[in-house]
Symmetry: C2
Subunit: 403 residues, 2 copies
């Protein structure tokens, strides 16, 4: 593959459904690379609703991961059909022909993610670590068949085969989308889980002390949303309005901050297994009698602190961070943003908070765009993992291709 | 892809593990096509043993398909590592460099196969049938990573996405390997499950009344082997020696021949779900007190009759069959062969029994060779399902590609 081929613009669709399972996001982008600079133009976006019954089956499979293989196969087919619907919906809505699209990148729906044990500082002896396992469903053969478009999916396993965590994956796109000539930027996504990509400036990236760094900081909206659903029957705390009226419960906060995930050294990932419904229910049982608004205030505070604490532990000591670029649903929670700013100032850091929109990127479709970019690279036979972020032993081409 | 490219010889490795889970067969073949005639030369073969603990985990997962997703992920990784070992073992043993191999085709290990309801004659109204599901494990990303070779795997889902049964797959290779100018041949494989491919002569293949036809006839060695293990602690009845000393129990035979799978109209597939350990145990409970040798005699007779009955129902009325070419472990069971010949004669058919070796094909590696041929086609971007055999609505390129 010659470098010249990378300059040829390709039309790539990205399909994404996150841990919240609240819809399949689809985007179509025109992507090309010139002199190592990615150029992307968002052509169209679309969101496919998930039928409540299917959403329930998915959430159940994630929170209680024991199921019959027949049910698993059926779910794989149903989610494959759902993702195909998302792709076809985008084409239909925007009057685009399948033949105009070069390829689709589908993240699928993560049902289970079992990363290998993280590398600790006393563990770099070269002993063979066991490989992790992961399970994305949403059969890509169905997407390829129903759309007639070359489909690339199931990205994580190849990175894990190379000893990586199979996550985070979006950091590859973050580097291509946000790298600045001079500033270090932290791309802070707050979805169900919160994750950060530290993108050092182009000028210092080659220095070993300044790699791209990415990891899950901890829970994103997952705990706040669980509390809203439990107490108010609503999916989320709009603008953090409920949390803003509550009082932080110190004992609960201290207890939460003792979670064993937080001090783990990156690369590291987490998920619904650690911060999902069962975890929330366990806290409820241990701290009976708190007011609903106090739960929201405390969980919002916990979420903010896990983010800033992660920066203090792992980022600020090594990087001069200029900007934090917020994304995901949590970016629109004004109370959470306020708590983030408060803690950043308290940490003595001058970091300006920005949004994806400030960079011309439609936040809601950012992760779908990331999977379009990952698929673009795989289509071009370019490695698309960042070993410094995933812990893989070397760059690999992630994704399985269906023609 | 121009036709000329098909003539270029490629080195392709096939990896296969059957329902008996008694080893991973690997073969390396040089494959090319000239004027629609496949040319293949077997370069090397190798069998990778399966550790007893892993075999037990796999058999358990197949016979009792409810498991935690973590265990499933771990099994997917372990089987992927096993298949990678098989590929590396072949290269090491035969002093072949990975760089000499163009691609690998891996069947994986089928854990669950849930085909769509078979099309019945009163069902051709064009109503939308639900898609089936299937689960092959043996992570191909691990095979690609550990060998450094382009790996194609998980063939069934694409055929099923096109409405097919996702099986049988080997019929594609059978047609390319065995098609004669004048004779109709039945390629009868007797593995854990028994399946047949009817290959009409090249001259009449285009006639709609004479398509390639393939389906599972029913149990192969599965029931005989289960009885041998239960009564004698041995994996199989060598040459049918035990069955030859027993007496057929008519009531048990009649009961077995009432199995609902047998009268189903092809295309159809079956597996361990229907004829595995639980089925054998259920028969044991219903027919207590039979002598072990009588069990073997009756199960061997049942197996032979399911094969010949299938021919009488679905093949002999439409095809003038000249040869039955036996393959699989059951082909070496002299008593079973004798019963097959007996029933063919009783049916008034003049069919000569042959073995794969009569065609220069090493029987033990025939299915591995078939997956090399399927991968060869996918690598060349050629459709590799036979819709007339699988029930798919059209030809598709099966297989997911890992670079």
């Amino acid at each position: 593959m010659s470098v010249a081929d990378l300059a040829k613009p390709l039309m790539v669709m990205g399909l994404m459904s996150g841990t919240s399972v609240d819809g399949v996001d689809a985007c179509l982008a025109r992507i090309a690379m010139h002199d190592g600079h990615l150029q992307q133009e968002m052509i169209a976006t679309y969101t496919q609703d998930i039928a409540p019954a299917l959403r329930s089956r998915l959430l159940k499979a994630m929170s209680d991961p024991v199921m019959g293989l027949e049910a698993l196969c059926a779910l794989n087919v149903a989610v494959g059909e759902l993702f195909a619907e998302a792709a076809l919906g985008l084409l239909r809505t925007h009057h685009i022909l399948a033949g105009e699209v070069d390829c689709i990148g589908s993240h699928g729906q993560t049902l289970f993610h079992w990363p290998p044990p993280p590398v600790q500082s006393d563990d770099e002896t070269g002993t063979k670590r066991p490989l992790g396992g992961t399970l994305q469903i949403g059969e890509p053969s169905i997407i390829a068949e129903k759309t007639g478009i070359y489909t690339i999916a199931d990205f994580r396993p190849r990175d894990m085969a190379a000893g990586g965590q199979g996550a985070p994956l979006v950091c590859y796109a973050d580097r291509l989308l946000f790298q600045d000539e001079h500033y270090t930027r932290c791309i802070q996504n707050i979805g169900g889980i919160a994750n950060v990509t530290v993108v050092p400036p182009r000028s210092t990236e080659q220095a070993e002390s300044q790699p791209v760094m990415a990891f899950d900081t901890g829970p994103g909206n997952m705990l706040m949303d669980a509390a809203m659903m439990h107490f108010y029957g609503k999916p989320y705390d709009e603008n953090g309005a409920v949390a803003a009226t509550g009082t932080i419960h110190e004992a609960l906060l201290v207890h939460l901050l003792g979670h064993p995930y937080l001090p783990l050294t990156p690369p590291k990932t987490t998920g619904r297994e650690q911060f999902g419904e069962p975890f929330f229910k366990a806290q409820l049982a241990q701290f009976p009698g708190l007011e609903p608004a106090d739960w929201l205030a405390t969980l919002t505070e916990f979420t903010a602190q896990t983010i800033v604490d992660s920066y203090q532990r792992f980022i600020f000591p090594r990087y001069q961070v200029s900007e934090m670029i917020l994304g995901g649903g949590g970016a629109y929670n004004a109370h959470l943003r306020q708590r983030l700013e408060h803690h950043l100032k308290a940490a003595g850091q001058v970091v300006s908070l920005k949004m994806h929109a400030d960079f011309g990127i439609h936040d809601k479709y950012k992760e779908a765009l990331a999977f379009a970019i990952l698929a673009w690279a795989a289509f071009q036979r370019q490695p698309n993992n960042l070993p410094e972020c995933t812990g893989a032993s070397h760059p690999v081409i992630m994704g399985k291709h269906c023609f």
